[in-house]
Every structure is written in structure tokens, then in C-alpha cells.
């Protein structure tokens, strides 16, 4: 019995990956175009903005907080870029977006950590404020970007498409921060057990604050990568994207209760979501079933995760005496 549940656990632990493989096979069987290398490159390019956003979200989720304002940050920073920095070279634009995103993230962080207001409601409110400001600035128009931004999409770095390159850089930086710096490990500590973190003398508020800053920066950068692809920013830009980012993180094994998950998982989650969309496009599926399939897959993955934690809890229930193997 015990061995059985261990095996089950192993399956459940890798369930998102199994799910991914199953999906690949299904789409592959339905269209031979799906398995082309170029298509996987497509998927990753398309997943890049959402993956970058979700990486930032991962930091916030790891500390058991949530950031619903990322779509607003993305919209506002891109709008400012389109309105006031059309002539600037792209590195300047990117720097501006990073700065603005970080600044807005810092505002979220201050309200959450200093005033102690629940991050859910803070970021829900700032989401609307930010979208409102962006609409005000743009007068709700769709703004176009010039060639400076548009050509970036087709540019490559070391033979890698720029979107993938940007995404790899963000991923690598986030991975190093989370796994190789004191701050990153403390993020896990704070999320895993805030009370113990406080007792250990960790600066809990400061750590949470910086996670919001990082989420803001990632939202800015994700938005930037996105505009190189779509070349315009309008009132629907980044709408509801916070939910996709959270879904990507959760699909990749990040817990909404903090302390568990990794950026690698998150990236996987983002790619999974985009693969579904890509696969449905490729097999020319009925447009109406897109949200249904996506929702079902998110639901399934999270249900499996719930089952998994339940089994882990059962296996790790404190034992007093040796368990005889039956």
C-alpha cells in the first residue's frame, strides 16, 4: 500500500509534465505541422511575454502574496513608451520600462508591507488605477510603435530570436537570484514559514517589498517583449493577463500559499499554456472551445496538485513507531 502510494505520488508529482507530453502527442497526431522545430520556436516566442510576467509573479507568490496589477503595469509602461519615447533607441526604452515597472511595484510593496493591507485588494485596486491612468494618457487610443521597436522582433542574438533571448536572460537572472543569492533563499524562507523567518531575524517586510519590485520590473519587461511582437498598445493590452501569469506559475507547481515552486516550473507552465493555444490554432479547432480547453487543463493540473499534497501529507504524517511494510 505504502509503495503503491509512493508510485502514485511519483506520477502525480510529474503530472504536469505527463499532461504536457499527452497534449503534445494529441496535437502531433492531429497535425504533422505541430512537431516542426520552427513551431516549437514559435511557441517559445509566444510564451516569452507571459513567461517573463509569470517569473515576476513567482517571486510574489513564493512569499504567499499575490500581484493582480501586472497587466496594469504592462499597459501603463508600454503606453508611456509609445507616447513619450517614440524616438528613443530601444535600450533607453527598455531601461525606462524597467524603471517604471520597478517603481510601481515598489508602490504596491510599500502599501502591502508598511500599511499591512492584503495584497489581493491592494493590487486589484492598483490594477484599475494603472489602467485608468494609461487610458487617460492615451485617451484610450491604440498607439503604434515605430520601426525601432518593431524590427526587434525579427532581430536575433547569437542566432536566437530576440524574444527567446530576452526570456532566457530574465529566466537566468531570476534563477540565479532565487537559488544563488541570500535574498532568493530568504524569499523561500519567508514564504515557507513567516513566523520562523521573523524569529530568525530575517527582514521579512523588506524581502516581500523587493518581490513586488521584481514583479513590477518583470511586468515592464514582459510588456516590452510583447510590444515588439504586436507593435501596438491599446486599451485591451494586458487585459486579464494577471490570471494567465498566475495560472502559468501554479501549473508549474508554485503554491499560492508560499514557499513552494521554482521559476523553471513557471516557465514550463507558461509554455504549456501557449502550447495548448498553438496546438488549437494548428489543428484549426473551433474558436469557441479555446477557453474551455485552457480552463480544463488548468483545472486538471491544479486538481492533480491538490491530490498530490494530500498524499504527501498522508505520507509525512508524524509517525511514532516504525511502520511495518505490509
Amino acid at each position: 500500500m505504502k509503495i503503491g502510494s509512493r508510485a502514485l505520488l511519483l506520477i502525480l508529482q510529474n503530472a504536469p509534465y505527463i499532461l504536457f507530453v499527452v497534449l503534445l502527442v494529441v496535437f502531433g497526431l492531429m497535425s504533422d505541422r505541430f512537431f516542426a522545430i520552427a513551431n516549437f520556436r514559435n511557441i517559445i516566442i509566444q510564451a516569452a511575454p507571459i513567461a517573463i510576467l509569470a517569473i515576476g509573479m513567482t517571486f510574489v507568490l513564493l512569499t504567499a502574496q499575490i500581484d493582480l496589477s501586472v497587466g496594469g503595469i504592462m499597459y501603463l509602461t508600454a503606453t508611456v513608451l509609445a507616447l513619450y519615447m517614440t524616438g528613443a533607441p530601444w535600450p533607453v526604452g527598455l531601461a525606462a520600462v524597467i524603471f517604471m515597472g520597478g517603481f510601481i511595484g515598489a508602490l504596491n510593496g510599500v502599501v502591502v508591507t508598511r500599511l499591512g493591507v492584503a495584497s489581493f485588494i491592494v493590487t486589484l485596486a492598483t490594477l484599475f488605477i494603472l489602467r485608468g491612468i494609461a487610458m487617460y494618457l492615451s485617451n484610450t487610443r491604440t498607439l503604434m510603435f515605430g520601426d525601432e521597436i518593431l524590427t526587434l522582433n525579427r532581430a536575433t542574438v547569437l542566432g536566437i530570436p530576440s524574444a527567446i533571448f530576452a526570456f532566457l536572460v530574465v529566466f537566468a537572472v531570476a534563477w540565479v537570484i532565487l537559488h544563488q543569492t541570500p535574498f532568493g533563499r530568504q524569499v523561500y524562507a519567508v514564504g515557507g514559514d513567516p513566523e520562523a523567518a521573523r524569529k530568525a531575524g530575517l527582514p521579512v517586510a523588506r524581502i516581500v517589498f523587493f518581490c513586488f519590485v521584481i514583479a513590477g520590473i518583470c511586468a515592464g519587461v514582459g510588456g516590452f517583449v510583447s510590444i515588439t511582437q504586436i507593435g501596438a498598445v491599446g486599451p485591451k493590452y494586458g487585459d486579464q493577463i494577471e490570471f494567465s501569469a498566475i495560472a502559468a506559475a501554479v501549473l508549474g507547481g508554485v503554491s499560492l500559499f508560499g514557499g513552494r515552486g521554482s521559476v523553471a516550473g513557471t516557465v514550463f507552465g507558461a509554455i504549456l499554456i501557449k502550447s495548448v493555444q498553438n496546438g488549437l490554432n494548428i489543428i484549426n479547432a473551433d474558436p469557441y472551445i479555446y477557453p474551455l480547453v485552457t480552463a480544463a487543463i488548468i483545472f486538471l493540473a491544479v486538481a492533480i496538485d491538490g491530490l498530490r499534497t494530500r498524499i504527501i501529507e498522508r505520507l509525512e504524517r508524524r509517525t511514532i513507531r516504525p511502520v511495518s511494510v505490509e
Binding site: 491604440t142 511582437q229 507593435g231 487585459d239
Partner: protein, 335 residues
């Protein structure tokens, strides 16, 4: 701690007062007011539309009460009731759903306030209002039919893709149906291989088109349900090395809809073959005239039709002056 509390309370109250101040707009007394209720300003068409209406009404000495419903019919119903409570003298409305607007019309009828639908007609009912309509289905059918002829003339078979708008938006549905009617006439020439849902979302559109081009690299016929997706289409086609003007053998036969300035520029440069154009100037003028006539108690037809037209590579020179996008384009690119 005590000081903090007090500071905070004072700060909060001050902030609240400041907020209530923000909503304040100066209101002149005595003039007539027209409510202009749009459901969103998601594309240049609507932005240009509301601006033309706004300026025209101001010129005529009206005051304007503007509201955007953000595609929420219930909210728009509430906005209509607020307008009625403010005793406006007329309502120009763009609803989201043709059925859901009927109670709003009834409410306006009861309050004896004339109501005009700009660009989207309501579903048939016993309530009275005047609708200005562009025939989306016909216009898109005409434009796509031209493109189909082009395709036929090429002597080759073409694989086609359509970018569909939000499935909850009747305009999107009508344009899709117009497209379908047109291509159905050319079963030997056109095979529709990709119906790409965009949810009126640029990002989704870009990804969808890229994926469709991946699945069917030989797509050579494209229709977009709105010109506002042009930047994304351009990006996707460029990436797939399919962005070439008419005459190039890799040219994708491209049909647009709306008649944006961008669309004119593309037609001028030969990237777009045809575009279904709504006559925005004509529609705004019809709308304002209808409101004025109704106020004076004149009889106005329930439906005022903007026939619209398809602008094509063939007729571009003779028709461009009627294309609102061209006029805006000309303002931006004088000379």
C-alpha cells in the same frame, strides 16, 4: 501610534475630498445636453467617431454628457437611466448587444427622449429609436468578393485565413458571415484553413496568425475583421516572409475592414488588396441630423443605412476621398 492614527484619518479624508473634486466638471446652465454613450473606444474607428460627434455637437451649441460602458450592457442601461434622470435632450448610443439595448430604448421612449444608435442597430422591437447602420455583412462580402476575384484571376488555388473578432460582438459575427458568404461562392479557388479567434486582443491575434502560418505555410489569402489588427498582421507576415506587395509572387491577398488610416497606407503601397469601408463621416452626420430632426418632432425612419463600400486596388483613386481613414491619413501626412 496615536499620532499615526490621526495623520492617517486626516490624510484619508483629505484624499477622499480630493477625489470627489476630481469628478467635478463645470456645467453651464441653460443649454441643451446630448448624452453620447459608447460601449468602448477600442479602435480608431470609435475614437474618430466620438470625436467627430463631440466636435459637431459642440459647434451646434450642445452640451455633452459622455459615458463609456466598457461593453457592459447593464452598465449602459444604468447610464441611460442616469441620462434620463439628468433630463438630457437626446441620446446617441453604441450598445454592445442588439437585444440587450431594447429596455434602454423603452426607457428613453417613456421619458420622451430621442435615441439614435450609432453604427449598431438594435434588434427589431416595438420600441422606437433611429439606427444608423453600416451593413457589415454586405461590406465585408463585397470586399472579400473582390479579393476572391483577384485570387481566381491568379489561376491558382488559395488557402485562406480569417481573423475573427470577439465572438460575443455582433459586428464581428456579421463580418465573419460576410466573409464566409463571399468565399463560399468560390469553392474551387478558396479553401479556408484557419479561423483564428482574436477576442479583439492584439496579442491573441498575433499568436493565432503566427501559429496558423506555421500550420499552413502556404496561406495566401487573409481577411481581418478589423483594421486595428494591422500592426500584428504585418509583424506576423514579415516574420513568415510573406509581406510583399501586389505583383510579388509571394504576395498574400489581404482584405481589411473598417477603413483605417493604416489600411489606406497599405493599399497605397500595394500590400492590401481590398478593404471594407464604413463611411464614418456619413454615419456621424446621419446620427446628428436624426437627433436634431427628432427634437423638432420630425418623422425619421427607424433605419438609416450607410451603404459603405469596398475600396479596392481598382477603385482606390476615385473612392479614397470617401474613406475616413484617407482623410485622417492626409491630415497626418500633408503634401
Amino acid at each position: 501610534m496615536a499620532l499615526n492614527r490621526r495623520d492617517f484619518t486626516v490624510g484619508a479624508l483629505t484624499g477622499l475630498a480630493a477625489l470627489s473634486g476630481m469628478t467635478v466638471a463645470v456645467r453651464a446652465q441653460g443649454s441643451k445636453t446630448i448624452a453620447v454613450l459608447f460601449d468602448g473606444l477600442y479602435s480608431e474607428f470609435w475614437v474618430a467617431g466620438i470625436q467627430i460627434i463631440r466636435e459637431d455637437l459642440k459647434k451646434r451649441g450642445f452640451e455633452i454628457m459622455e459615458a463609456i460602458s466598457d461593453q457592459d450592457d447593464n452598465k449602459q442601461f444604468e447610464q441611460v437611466r442616469a441620462a434620463i434622470a439628468r433630463k438630457v435632450d437626446g441620446i446617441i448610443i453604441v450598445q454592445t448587444d442588439s437585444n440587450a439595448v431594447i429596455p434602454a430604448i423603452r426607457a428613453a421612449n417613456e421619458a420622451d427622449i430621442p435615441m439614435v444608435h450609432f453604427n449598431r442597430p438594435p434588434a427589431p422591437s416595438d420600441a422606437f429609436s433611429v439606427a444608423i447602420q453600416a451593413d457589415n455583412q454586405k461590406i465585408s462580402r463585397d470586399a472579400v468578393t473582390y479579393s476572391c476575384e483577384v485570387a481566381k484571376a491568379s489561376g491558382k488555388k488559395h488557402k485562406a485565413a480569417i481573423l475573427i473578432g470577439d465572438l460575443g460582438d455582433p459586428n464581428a459575427i456579421q463580418r465573419r458571415d460576410g466573409f464566409q458568404e463571399a468565399v463560399d461562392q468560390y469553392p474551387d479557388v478558396i479553401e479556408v484553413v484557419a479561423k483564428i479567434p482574436t477576442e479583439w486582443n492584439a496579442d491573441t491575434a498575433f499568436a493565432g496568425l503566427t501559429n496558423a502560418l506555421q500550420a499552413n505555410p502556404d496561406i495566401s489569402f487573409l481577411f481581418t475583421s478589423s483594421d486595428f489588427l494591422i500592426p500584428q498582421i504585418q509583424q506576423a507576415l514579415k516574420t513568415a516572409d510573406k509581406w510583399h506587395p501586389v505583383g510579388n509572387e509571394n504576395h498574400v491577398i489581404f482584405t481589411g475592414f473598417d477603413g483605417f488610416p493604416d489600411a489606406y497606407a497599405l493599399m497605397k503601397d500595394g500590400y492590401m488588396d481590398a478593404c471594407g469601408v464604413q463611411n464614418l463621416f456619413y454615419e456621424t452626420e446621419l446620427a446628428i441630423q436624426a437627433i436634431l430632426d427628432l427634437q423638432e418632432g420630425k418623422k425619421v425612419d427607424k433605419l438609416l443605412l450607410d451603404p459603405g463600400f469596398a475600396i479596392t486596388q481598382q477603385n482606390i483613386e476615385e473612392k479614397k476621398e470617401e474613406m475616413w481613414g484617407y482623410v485622417l491619413w492626409k491630415e497626418k501626412n500633408p503634401g
